[in-house]
Subunit: 452 residues, 4 copies
């Protein structure tokens, strides 16, 4: 459904994932293969030049390619035929050297690798933008108190800065992970029919080396026609990023609920309305990330299921990857782009955060009070006293502060003013500031490393 | 990747799954809603007619819709806006009644339901074609001996008719299942903002009844905005069909292996060749079904994962369904269409089947011989004798027949001619014929039921 | 992790899924097979009796079975060996007839079918209990106003009864679905080595008929050793039930959030506490259902992926089902049991529901007001007026009621008292009551049908 | 189903994944936490010692733990209670310091991390054993000709050494990947209620540092209670390993088919037999790896789906991981162990490999012949000639060699003896030897790196 693409996708990235981009990437392979076979002395330089001259997608009839691919079983066969025909018009000798020594899968796999490299070239700076905007949120809200929530219940106070630092830290892990995966997994595919480069005789390896150099791709020790762990690793890295984006979106959308209203997505003309409810401001950016996070696990599973490929080149497994991996790449790009926009314009209502902290009869301070009481009356006794007070506060719908204030066991150890201070979130930050410092320092170090 | 569509898809079906078809289905909903609100006395008949007059996809700018959908968060909002603007040109009063009482999801869900109904209208006769061609295979090969294989090893002889009857029986189960699912799961969606039809006051139910009748869709007791079990059931039915198509394709592709060569996909100009190997006849139809079977489980999982939708209408889960379910529908159609073509032109080499039966030193007859010996020498003794003979045949690479012929324990009970007869597959069919009769009778009964 | 079982599982059901239950179910098959072969004249009645006498799990060494199964590749081989040895002690002739005509998979598959039938015998009344408790909730809260929420935002008012009716309706659909699946999918498996019953000569079919009758299982036209659509359908039905349980749990846990506090899980000694926070009452029952809903899609996908089984009996696919399907059954039972307890003791705070309705500056009434204004000032004008008022209310943090009250366009059409009435949720129920009646009537009809 | 464990699992590894091992790992955390809080001056050294003295699983009642965990919602709460009670018998003061500053999830997550570290300690040398045995296969069969197969059809000749080198190379990639994942993903979890270590006041960080050192686990900048990308990455690495094991098992089982008979799993008493067919030698080891490969994608998907966890600690997602990740670990261990045994005893029939190469009328040599002819008659003409010859050979069921020998276009360029030489697989190895050298060199370098 192309109509839904703008909702879920990122146009700048989608450009790299179009049919035309796929064909161009395969033609880039064919042009480079021509140059590499020439450099290795397999074909004349002039033939290589003649081939390269036609390796532009604009010269090809995509609709015809699509129809012929259906018969042939893959896209490379008709592409090579069309290319050969084009070259033959100018240079019959060169035409005989098109796709020399390669098999269809060499062109399709390397084309995919080139496409993915370009696509990751877009998501890399977008991840950086997201990380920088998250870092700014962390900075700004280091000390902003907010209810920490566990099991979807208020637990103990924390800071919004610490929450955002958790998001930032995860995003930076993914950046490192994607950098590593890109370097390790996007490698040249060239093996010929069964991976031995036999059709190139004793020139196979020199051709492979030249081709790898030409395309600036690592040359693996062996072709990987039926060993797909590199693509599975990439798919998993994308799926994991999407999972983190989904987690951030879940947090934001929970905080956007009408009754919490701690965060809002940026507003905008025509953005997030309803076809029937005039007051609605829907979390549309979060919806994109959550929808992607719902879809990614199944797509990742498909890439893993497709790994069991038969023999030198498999049946069905390879074909299952084609749409799945580009779909994952597109979903990742879309979720990233939309959530980066959400974070960039995120509206943080720290007043409401404070208000929500106080809304639960003060029960959220129970752990801190128990800890403080424990220092004076012993930890077991403190636990008993505070649990009883919580139960009473709940049953009588009274503030915990009131209940404790009239409890002799408490007032024996704490003056009223001391007790009041325990109901302030600032005093219960623990190591939050230190953790934030570490996360920000790591973020800065990464940025410095990239800048250098 | 639209380029790969012709490989994996079925053009006739894909027509129903295009963007234009989606928009038209939503417009069919809007037109029918206009008529239904008129019939229920909510809006004037003239307004309904004015609305319906514009409900044709040709009048809409799909690219603009797509762009606006990205901002709005769904497709219905800009579609209703464009429709309202179109209607307003002719009839300002009617324009105020466009989409009356409905929410975006009503239009999108019912549109999807209408699309799926049309798509299933294509796959139903195609499944029938596949079933009929399988039935013809069963008839033709009732008694054709072939090696039964378990754990991917030759086991005991069976008939190709029985194998094909297993395929046919499964396909007919899916036909019954899809009929039931279609009737049960493709129902009207109309609920308004939160499913109470509140914006229609006390006319909500009459409108819903009129709309259901107009669109010939069952009217459920309640809207199902956030209860997606019907769609999950449909997705599972499609996924299960694909699983069976994959199983048939696995069987055919195993039998097509060079060393077995019992079956071949139909040949054809430009079909199943290789970009480098001149002798290749690849099982391209099987590849389509196997690729679909590799992809379907993950897509089915997505539909199940999306079921956990929040409140009256959810966030992220609903959006995850849009592309997933139509993708499953398209993969099913493609796998079905391609495999139906494979079966229609399947080349069965019964001579090679017989030859393969004899290729394994006659070990495939061991169970039958053991059974026959058991009747005369007792089952335990027979098992001991035959196991020992198998081991010797294997170790000495001699035919089992020879080894048994010189075994005194055997010759005491069986004359040489009797023993030879045990190495003929025809004598070991068991209930195969009866099973085949039952499957064919059920197939015929179904056809008769449909014809009546 | 058996330690986690009590958390996620339902002990009464788990009894049916133990190793001992599996072995007993397989022994039930062997005993019945003995009787069936006797009835069909294949073996003496006395042998059947001798076999049946030993078909009790208590006589078997499960640890030895497990060890031997690891060598043999499945559980049936050593079980049949142990059974044969036991029978041989009493009756050597009978021993030769153990497992007569069957293959390992016949015993394992039919054993699984028997186990699943028993397990569904537990979940059926538990689903009924859940449905009845939901029906009671619907009755009690037909008219209880609550905020309808879409996209995780307050949308328009609805009733808690309608929300619960949605849950009830889905649960009743699942009850019907499971009844149908149980009848259709739990069928006898008996085919011998390759599904032809060849080892039983011409007595195969009579044996199969007698066995099906003895075990009260439908007899399919063909064995289904490598056609697993029936199990996939059952897995999908379980997964879909779990999805609905997850949806209900999501709704309940969202309503239990500290800031909403509309619903609470039943409290209990030691239930839902925290190891560190004394005030915590965690939604532990919801967590079980949500965890099950997170796990089920992947398990369902596995059952679908396993459908592509080779030849007469497959390699790897069949084995992948063994733990997956019983795991799904167990997760379904656990989620059902825990959520049924949650619903049975659900604490509904209708006061808080009302309070939350009023908390969003009255914006939740916007759609209703727009509808009412539309009747007097025209729908387009009403939409414009209300949207502007919502924007102002939001920007100035004032109640929508106040903003509208001073808007001349509104006061021209509505007296103050009329306007105030529009801010009462009761007037905006639409067809909710009618929908509830239909759902309750269907529930009652089902109960009556079962009772009769 | 514990009964099936020996089939699919590896006992040595399963020891690390038992309930007792889980509890012990959590107790290891509690003991170390006691020491760390003492070192940081939070509790007395004597208390730490008193706590550690009881941190042995043998002192705990696992059945009671399980029952209480069901009420509490997790295992840590009753474990901490039992531990506290045990410590209190000796030292009431120490009892108050049990689990000081930690939350349940700290104990459960770190316990899991410790378990996984131990489990990976078993699989690491087993992967090494597999790699070494594969390297030996590569060495032994560098030049053994075998049919290369693509799309499940014979394609062109290759060597069994090259095929095994592909397996080896993939296994070595996984070894590197698992080493990296282990170092990166198995980190300490310690955060207290909401990740701020607030209950430890200003001593949180020193405690965390001391604990990390004590357990020899990396200390992350932040707790990861609701950020599960590390576990997802580990799950993906395990799933990917399983995918490769499945691919190897698929290749071996295809080569073990009766009609190919190129490879056999090692035989053994009671191994791979049938309950009814005396001749059967089933590929039981391959079945284990293939079943694991069928199950892993769904389990990996579950870990990814579980990533969307709410707030500081989530609801349902975390709980979904507990059984899923240990199940993946167990399946990986089992598949690895069984397949390592298969490879260690693999029976390679190089004679049969040669025979199969020649079985397909010599068509497998078509690409090589076309290449050779191309050098003399031009590539386009050669393609035309060879394709026509293949078609004729197929139609007339004659050897390709014969057809070409009488083709004037061929005999003009090739003498009979020259032509014959083209039908020898040895001449068509291309870069296979070089690739093998590289893979073996990398393997040796890795081994040297580990030995040093």
């Amino acid at each position: 459904m192309r109509l839904f693409d703008p909702l879920f996708r990122w146009p700048a990235l989608e450009e790299e994932l179009t049919d035309a981009a796929r064909v161009q990437a395969m033609l880039d392979f064919e042009a480079a293969l021509g140059r590499a076979t020439a450099r290795a002395g397999v074909i004349p330089e002039a033939s290589a030049a003649a081939i390269a001259a036609h390796c532009s997608v604009a010269r090809f009839d995509l609709a015809a390619l699509a129809r012929q691919a259906a018969l042939a079983g893959n896209l490379a066969i008709p592409l090579v035929e069309q290319l050969t025909a084009l070259v033959a018009r100018d240079d019959a000798a060169a035409a005989a050297h098109v796709h020399r020594g390669a098999t269809s899968q060499d062109a399709i796999d390397t084309g995919l690798v080139l496409q993915l490299r370009r696509a990751l070239g877009h998501t890399q700076p977008e991840l950086e933008r997201l990380a920088n905007d998250l870092a700014a949120l962390v900075e700004a809200h280091r000390a902003t108190p907010v209810a920490g929530r566990t099991w979807m219940q208020q637990a103990v106070p924390t800071t919004f800065g610490l929450k955002a630092a958790g998001w930032l830290d995860a995003v930076n892990r993914h950046r490192a992970r994607l950098d590593a995966v890109r370097a390790r997994c996007l490698v040249l595919q060239l093996g010929g029919a069964v991976g031995s480069l036999a059709a190139l005789g004793d020139r196979g390896w020199p051709v492979a080396e030249a081709l790898a150099q030409d395309l600036a791709l690592p040359l693996p020790d062996l072709p990987w026609h039926a060993h797909r762990d590199r693509l599975a690793e990439l798919a998993a890295a994308l799926g994991s990023c999407i999972g983190t984006l989904g987690k951030i979106a879940r947090d934001i959308s929970l905080a956007m609920q009408t009754e919490l209203a701690e965060l809002s997505e940026p507003a905008g003309e025509g953005r997030g309305g309803s076809s029937t409810m005039p007051q609605k401001r829907n979390p549309v950016g979060c919806a994109v990330a959550l929808a992607a996070a719902t879809r990614a696990p199944g797509l990742v599973a498909t890439m893993f299921a497709a790994m069991v490929q038969e023999g030198e080149r498999g049946l069905g497994g390879w074909q299952a990857e084609w749409e799945t991996l580009t779909e994952l790449m597109g979903l990742f790009g879309g979720a990233l782009h939309h959530l980066a926009d959400v974070v960039a314009g995120l509206d943080v209502d720290s007043g409401r955060m404070r208000q929500n902290l106080d809304a639960g009869q003060g029960l959220i301070f129970a752990e801190g009070i128990q800890t403080a009481l424990g220092e004076r009356m012993g930890r077991s006794e403190a636990r008993r006293v505070v649990q009883a007070a919580c139960a009473r506060a709940r049953a009588e719908r009274r503030p915990l502060h009131e209940v404790l204030a009239v409890d002799g066991a408490v007032s024996r150890h704490f003056a009223a003013s001391e007790l009041a201070r325990l109901f302030a979130p600032d005093g219960y930050r623990g190591s939050a500031d230190r953790m934030i410092e570490r996360v920000l320092a790591a973020h800065t170090a990464r940025a410095a490393g990239e800048g250098s």
